[in-house]
Amino acid sequence: MSEKRTGVFVCHCGNNIAATVDVKKVAETMAQEGTVAFSKDYVYMCSDPGQSSVIEAIKEHRLDSVVVSCCSPNLHEGTFRENAERAGISGFTCEIANIREQCAWVHKDRTEATEKAIKISRSAIRRVAGNKKLDPIAVPVTRRAMVIGGGIAGIQAALDMANAGLDVVLVEKLATIGGHILQLSETFPTLDCSQCILSPKMVEVSRHPKIKLLTYSEVKEVSGSVGNFEVKILKKPTFVDAETCKLCDDCAQVCPQVVSNEHDLGLTARRAIHIPFAQAIPASYTLDEEACLGLNPIRCGKCKDVCEAGAINYDMRPETITENVGAIVVATGFDLYPQEKILEYGAGNVADVLDGLQFERLCSASGPTQGHVKRPSDRTEPKEVVFIQCVGSRDPAQHCAYCSKICCMYTAKHARLYKHHVPDGKAYVFYIDIRSGGKNYEEFVQRAMEEDETVYLRGRVSKLHRTKDGKVRVMGVDTLTGQNVEIDADMVVLALAMQPSQGTADAARTLKIGRDKDGFLAEAHPKLKPVESVTGGIYLAGCAQGPKDIPETVSQASAAASKVLALLSKPTLSHAPTIATVRNSHCTGCEMCVTACPYDAIHLENGKAVVNEVLCEGCGSCSATCLRAAISVRNTSPMQVHEMIEACLSL
């Protein structure tokens, strides 16, 4: 409140700063500033004696604020702010003037560098003159978590958290949890059956007292912020009471409506009322409203007539469920890059050209062919199969720029599975190069080549088409020999790129979390915060964040779970107090700030803007938008900037 008494501490950083900047002169010049009560230079401000000397000066000269002219605030802002707190003044009244990275290290001329250091320091003094003592904002947290997406990632995260004692809500868009793994036959690198690894986990989820499972549900709205989200979920009606359903299949038997079965990627059909697959969790039939002849008014009603258990209820309506949670894990997974987009390989119109997941279904014991590899066109056993890698991947010009990471592995797996099913068949793999980093992965690929005699051809397939005799002619080039290669295959399997699922895009929009250039969810930091989203309290797991295989997915899911557990381990969270504040007298309620705020942190109450302290990240977009100077970020007020501009232009 009273006059500022700022202390300025100019660091030599050994010779790092002092070699180019006349630190003595900086300290002396700063002493002339109106608000400066004390100024000195010292060889290493961040050293113990350096820090103690700041504390001493604060006490001796009754300083209320501190400027340390030293290295980047990224390095020691925290150090000096804590130090200031130790001396009994608010950490927020300590500012760093970066005269090393932004000055001493990038300039040679001593005079120029010194002048610039003076301006930078003076600017910091002006900034600190306007700084308020602030206390971090404490926010009570809701100690529950939500997981969106019930693939392996979501299941793992939910189980980890629930097992640690946290209440978890698991939201899955489809009628069953499980995700893509359930479509796989066997999995690399061990070739164990995917159902065998996943089913126990699915059952555990369904039985877990701490997990509330919401299938056939989608998140529609999220408000609040880290620690306290309010999530509105739309649960679609299944028209079948899961508790009562006996899984007798009577209903499906009478249902006249046949549609393609998405679980088998269109290789089989199902009825309007159906169960996605036998082990679905929740274990119940689902009436697909879109496929049904009509419920309102009821057009057919056959299923209900036959259901002895009386599980079918046409009056079920969509339900909006509101859940309060403290953190959210997004595990919305991937889709395959659409085959339609691969024009050079027939855009999905050439018979017996399959995508990887379809091939998985063909190999799967529970698949359309009960595990016998047969061509969809004529149900014959293919004797020559061509596997093409990197379809849609690593092609910045036309498709995805990124490497889909797992295709080398699953193609090797496919080749091997094929050979195990059709020992006299011939498998060719077109590849660009083989990426088999991972425990036992390289060995797995070697086995495909050696044990299972897969022919690996290095090169691109330029095109393919169907021949008159029902083969698929694959034309490519072997870049190792330089020879053109033409194979008349019985079947072609494309290792299509993984792309973020449609559900991932939807979730990103609802949750307002960033996505990267490829549409995968953006992590807060590519190296140091790989499972955090940029929004506090929202975490990422699985293929929604980037292509990965099961072990990696599971590790990431567990990592996300542990982040949530750490976050929610305390009853309150602390939030930076450098957030926007509104001057009611000046606000006219124009809502420009409301629209501008990237975090939806502002709303209007009685015609005045009100900032949600927790949501606001202090970006200042509102303040630059408001015409009436009615909103500004604490400790970065326009007044401070105004003075800093002046300081930058002094001399």
């Binding site: 306007g130 007298s585 000046h586 006219t588 124009c590 420009m592 700030c593 015609g607 015409l627 100077a629």
Partner: protein, 343 residues
């Protein structure tokens, strides 16, 4: 052609039925040919309303004043307020509604179309008659006959119509509760932004030479700001002291009032003022031309504002005053906003 009696009848009717508490309109002025804004509160006063080519004031400003009065006197309105509005007035009202300055149901808009005409530019008239103020004017649909100290003169409408009217694309007030006159949107005058394009043909040095002369002349009477319906801020960036003082306003806040612009009417301050104002009006200015009209020293403020308007339109597909919903220009963005200037 609009029969002014229709406007009067409507106003009288609304007032008599208590559907509005007042009607903002124009009446004959006391000082020569020009009309002046007025606020009619009694049915019997409705006959004083006029509608002619000297009704150049943007009455939306009076709505702003009315709102400020209400807030200041802590009164709540008993009924909506009526307003006679031309095309540009109505566009201004739309922006005010977009910025929640009042609610749609708080105003009753009696639209009047400018049809094939527009409003007079008194300055152009004066220039045609040697700088002497005209004392009376009559309009016969094509030509104006004006009386001046130096004699009478007949002037073609095209010659003395306000620039903004020549470039106007919306002579009909689309947002209205009731409207008179025809929607002659396709009338033929100048292309929009024609004057702007002419000016932009100048090179940088000529542009600065021009603007420096304009800025130097400004006397900072703030008529441009005060007449602008979009400059409804209670406290403007150029105000050197805190204007909105509430009991909770601290000495600190008063002391920290930033002086972005000094009171001195000198080039740097004037230029900063006008550029700031132009930026503040970007996406909000509806080109009613009032600021330019009122400027006592003829600073071509429309040029600045239409420049921003054209940017808003061309770069961002934004049309101020066209619709009440939707975000403000600078509070929103599109993924494909131009960014070539960023290097």
């Amino acid at each position: 052609m609009i029969n002014v009696q229709d406007i009067r009848d409507t106003a009288r009717d609304l007032l008599a039925k208590g559907e509005v508490r007042a009607v903002i309109g124009w009446r004959a002025g006391s000082r020569g040919m020009a009309a002046e804004p007025c606020v009619v509160t009694k049915p019997e006063e409705a006959d004083s309303l006029v509608w002619d080519p000297t009704c150049y004031h943007n009455l939306a400003l009076q709505l702003v004043n009315d709102r400020k009065d209400l807030v200041h006197s802590k009164k709540t309105a008993t009924a909506p307020i009526g307003i006679v509005a031309k095309g540009c007035d109505a566009r201004a009202i739309v922006v005010l509604l977009q910025e929640h300055y009042f609610k749609r149901e708080d105003v009753y808009i009696i639209g009047v179309s400018c049809e094939n005409s527009g409003v007079l530019d008194e300055r152009k008239v004066k220039a045609q008659v040697g700088g002497f103020a005209p004392s009376a004017a009559a309009f016969d649909g094509d030509n104006f006959s004006v009386k001046t100290a130096k004699g009478d003169k007949k002037l073609a409408g095209r010659e003395v119509m306000a620039d903004r009217c020549l470039e106007c694309r919306t002579p009909f007030p689309k947002e209205n509760n009731t409207a008179f006159g025809d929607d002659k949107t396709g009338r033929e005058f100048d292309a929009q932004f024609a004057a702007l394009a002419r000016f932009e043909a100048n090179d940088e040095a000529a542009r600065w030479e021009f603007w420096q002369r304009q800025f130097d002349r400004c006397i900072r009477c703030f008529a441009c700001r005060s007449v602008c319906p979009m400059c409804f801020c209670d406290e403007c960036v150029v105000d050197s002291i805190e204007m909105k003082i509430a009991p909770e306003t601290t000495a600190e806040e008063k002391a920290n009032r930033i002086r972005w612009i000094e009171r001195s009417a000198v080039r740097s301050e004037n230029a900063t003022y006008h550029m700031t104002r132009a930026l503040h009006l970007a996406g909000r200015c509806v080109d009613c031309g009032e600021c330019e009209r009122v400027c006592p020293v003829n600073i071509p403020l429309r040029l600045l504002n239409t420049k921003m308007e054209r940017e808003a339109r061309e770069a961002f597909g934004f049309d101020p005053g066209a619709s009440i919903g939707g975000p403000s220009l600078v509070a929103s963005f599109r993924d494909d906003d131009p960014g070539e200037f960023i290097r």
